[in-house]
Homo-oligomer: 279 residues x 2
């Protein structure tokens, strides 16, 4: 049986203690280089697969320093500290440039933890939205390959149909809001790596807000994982409700705040990004 | 003229390329170790003071791996990559433990950028709140020293007056919401370091949400700086409106989402935290 394209892209070859060789996958190509979510997923998978990993992912920050070139990359992953119930990770990804120089293309940190049962509450309740089967599948001209890996059913804030440069007339808290149901196209079950990837599926809020195309790309993404592996297993190959909204757009950067819920309303992750935009 | 206590705590002694010796300040003591915001500020100040720093802070993530002990610490700061208009930083803080071993107590990443004027918009408008001078100064029994460094004028979601364990009866989006005006007690002007510190002034949302005291502490904080130094200079020693709200509380960790505005309504920073809580 061949590996799912997601799992194939996650494959790393250990080179030395904490050093792994990987390669970008054409199946996950973005406009330039690979889908950033796939790169984040690769790091998460390396962490959860690590022999000394304590617990499960709780926090992740990845910084995209430059477009990752198609081809080989080296992931360096290090445990910065192991406490009784938490563990902190530091990592980077490097590539060799055309001049033969090793260049850093990604940095980041993560925390894993062995969680205990405590009082819990969900103050970010899932919005009331139509069920996935009542919505048509979003048909996007597949300008980038990775989008075709997902089944998306849009609820609000889809890609502009007309790029007329008219700013959204919606109230500000809805002007850059997107909501969609999303799942892997061929039924690959949700896990921490897939959840990290899903946190990055939103197209740039500035496009939605302005109906104006401008070069844009994530420079930093943080994911807080709220669900544990048992809860992710319950989602399986089901839909995830993905929501993101832009907050402040200022002089070349905007931030967004998002959340991912299971169809049953379980909050899986909250996520934030800082995104570059050109004009 | 003696240094302001904030500036005194920011002092670092360069030891070697990218290696600085610092010390915690009793003036910024928290229950255990120093106020985390002060530590974040120290890193930001080291970055903006660095001879090779490109532009101004845009993104910061700090992870608190363990309580920082009172006394000396070593900051290691490295430029991971310099692009045409952006620069990425990696850092950690280490301390020598009782056994003479060097231990990592903080990790993090940051990005600075030379911003250009672009289309800008503020979708996270400042809530309508009473002006600072119409509100009494919050008088807190100074259980921790650092709180006395700030003048705070609470608007909503102050520290519970009765710790009766009754969960908030407010709607969920207000149940763990705090809003306050805050400024340096003795008029130290706002800059990037001070803004980073201010992003961490919120007491644990779980206390507010439950009126129940439980050990809690920030494990990861991200700050997206939206204002530039000229805008911060305009704030000067004026008030900042600080708002934070808890999102998901689950098995030992909760996250919060916050924003800081100037009194004139300029969005200065958005900020997120993942916070540990014991029960």
């Amino acid at each position: 049986m061949s590996l799912h394209v997601f799992d194939a892209a996650l494959q790393l070859q250990p080179q030395a203690e904490g050093v792994y060789l990987g390669a970008t996958s054409p199946a996950w190509a973005n406009m330039v280089g690979p889908f950033g979510g796939m790169t984040a997923a690769t790091v998460v998978q390396a962490i959860v697969s690590h022999a000394q990993c304590l617990g499960e992912p709780v926090s992740l920050t990845v910084n995209y320093l430059a477009a990752i070139a198609d081809g080989a990359f080296t992931l360096q992953l290090r445990i910065a500290r192991t406490n009784r119930s938490t563990q902190h990770w530091v990592f980077d990804i490097r590539q060799t440039d055309a001049q033969g120089q090793s260049q850093c293309v990604l940095t980041g940190t993560a925390m894993t933890a062995a969680r205990r049962d405590t009082w819990s509450a969900n103050d970010l309740t899932m919005p009331e939205v139509p069920a996935p089967h009542t919505l048509p599948e979003t048909t996007i001209s597949p300008s980038v390959v990775w989008i075709t890996r997902y089944e998306m059913r849009g609820i609000a804030g889809g890609m502009p149909q007309v790029w007329n440069g008219c700013e959204s007339a919606l109230p500000l808290h809805e002007a850059s809001l997107s909501q969609l149901w999303v799942r892997d196209k061929v039924g690959r079950a949700l896990d921490f790596a897939a959840l990290a990837a899903t946190a990055d599926i939103f197209f740039p809020r500035v496009w939605l807000r302005r109906a104006h195309w401008t070069p844009a790309g994530t420079v930093s993404m943080t994911v807080y994982f709220h669900a544990n592996s048992a809860q992710l297993a319950q989602v399986g190959s089901g839909y995830v409700l993905a929501q993101a909204r832009g907050q402040i757009f200022h002089n070349g950067f905007f931030d967004q705040s998002g959340c991912l819920w299971s169809e049953a309303g379980v909050p899986l992750a909250t996520t934030h990004q800082l995104v570059y935009f050109k004009e």
